[in-house]
Symmetry: C2
């Protein structure tokens, strides 16, 4: 019988495959109704609920259709009996983008809970690291200050 | 006796307070030796291990000393018996930054496990949402494409 960690690994690999195939039913198959996603772009308060989560995917699929990859490079899972978390680095971009920024990875963290004996994704956090864009956000301003102090 | 959720809430509130006070011992008090942090800036592969995690804080404290806040606005915790995750929105910035971007929040996700009966932070993911900076990253390029398609 598969361990909880193995089941969660299978779930995440299946989800990643569904994302890459633009298969919305597959993307939603193991997600909770009350999922909260911190997506790469705003909303600042997060994407809340399965309907809002579903709505984020079609624009991503359109972008991806130009030939972008969405694949796991590393995946670490910590599973208890009924709660788990996982974090991963993914290659997400086009060949042109990888040529320009070969080291950049999408960072992904998942929170899962077991519902009726089945692992379910209740939280996702997607981000790219901040790099030196000119327009200030709190993050970029903080980093600019740090660079100014330390260089 | 405090529930696991209450203990984790106390841990995270104490950690947030230590960050705001620039108290490095307090920041490290409940973190595992093998912590992996996806920080706001690179490294792309994450900050790995407690020594690398420790080293990220002094520059942040210097930036914060100009009068920035670091405070929890919302915090959701899902705790099992020995594994838990939490996600939060924080106000992190200066008054000037909040005046310019009042809705922007730091998004924080934590993965925890119980070690010798004590909750320990094994993973952190910090990010600000991507907004429309001119220099392209895979994220920004994706969003620019999405905007171009949908506007």
């Amino acid at each position: 019988m598969a361990s909880d960690e193995e089941r969660i690994r299978t779930l995440i690999e299946r989800w990643t495959g569904a994302v890459h195939q633009g298969d919305i039913d597959g993307v939603l198959a193991d997600h909770s109704d009350d999922i909260v996603m911190f997506d790469v772009p705003p909303p600042y308060e997060g994407v809340r609920g399965i309907d809002a989560y579903r709505a984020t995917w079609p624009p991503f699929f359109e972008w991806q259709a130009q030939g972008a990859t969405f694949e796991i490079e590393s995946l670490d899972i910590t599973a208890g009996g009924d709660v788990a978390f996982a974090y991963a680095l993914l290659r997400c971009g086009t060949e042109k983008e990888f040529a320009e920024r070969p080291a950049e990875r999408l960072r992904l963290t998942l929170g899962l809970r077991k519902e009726d004996g089945r692992w379910t994704v209740a939280h996702e956090h997607h981000s790219f690291p901040y790099t030196n864009e000119p327009q200030a956000t709190p993050a970029t301003a903080a980093e600019d200050e740090i660079r100014a102090v330390h260089q």
